[in-house]
Symmetry: C2
Subunit: 153 residues, 2 copies
């Protein structure tokens, strides 16, 4: 089942699990070369010299992989997503390594109708990203704006 | 002047300004195709149909561009950066458009020695990302672990 589309469809306290993202060494290095060229994101040797224990993904890469999983899980039509004003918290809890397979659990923490716009509302989410060993590698708490199904004029 | 290297060098309340990042349409679309393929990050037409007013960068792309600016500003040698356990808040305040030129102001909000590790400490930052019109397009609040210059054994 894809994620809910419209404000009315989101039920506080419910969650969905989805996604399978295979992390590759090439993608970790490509991302790091463009956006986060710290040594431990560029080579196995430099990663081993740190507490990470090996080459690991930039935290921003991990957030971006999680976003890809979310977008793939969105409904293809009648999608009420209006973008996001921000994230309340990110925690990078474990390194993400080449060969990891990631999955997501996305929980609806709260929802609020907009005060100024009758046709939209705000959803507060908790995303938990797991690796293949069921370890939480990252959590984040996005704030998402969505359309209402029924406009109140 | 590059950013401070070691825990002792960070002075609470001080800030640095740096960076110049030219945002291109190609990079916005490349990033979105890989990680955030929502229509308003993929085409001018879809962006115009939203409140954004045109093609704009994924928020995760904006965070990644900011990271690139931070890494380029880090000292090339004797760099005490040990990675980050997370971000306390991200706010995407304005869309980032093709042709924008971004710059960063990075302020040291607080610092705390580690309780468990005598050789490191934690720095709390506020990053403000501006466009060429001096509008804040994004803020975030990273938590950064850094080495101490003098190890206490």
């Amino acid at each position: 089942m894809p994620s809910p589309s419209y404000f009315e469809d989101f039920e506080v306290g419910t969650f969905q699990e989805f996604g399978e993202y295979k992390v590759t060494e090439k993608e970790i290095i490509d991302f790091a070369e463009k956006f986060d060229p710290q040594p431990f994101h560029l080579s196995e040797e430099a990663g081993q010299a740190m507490h990470f224990g090996g080459l690991c993904a930039s935290g921003w890469h991990t957030c971006s992989m999680a976003m890809r999983m979310i977008v793939e899980h969105m409904p293809k039509e009648n999608n009420g997503a209006l973008g996001s004003p921000g994230i309340d918290e990110i925690r990078w809890k474990k390194p993400v390594f080449p060969g990891d397979v990631l999955r997501m659990r996305s929980t609806i923490l709260d929802k609020k109708p907009s005060r100024s716009r009758a046709d939209m509302g705000t959803i507060f989410m908790l995303n938990e990203l797991f690796n293949q060993n069921d370890e939480v590698v990252m959590t984040n708490k996005p704030i998402v704006m969505v359309k209402k199904r029924s406009r109140i004029s």
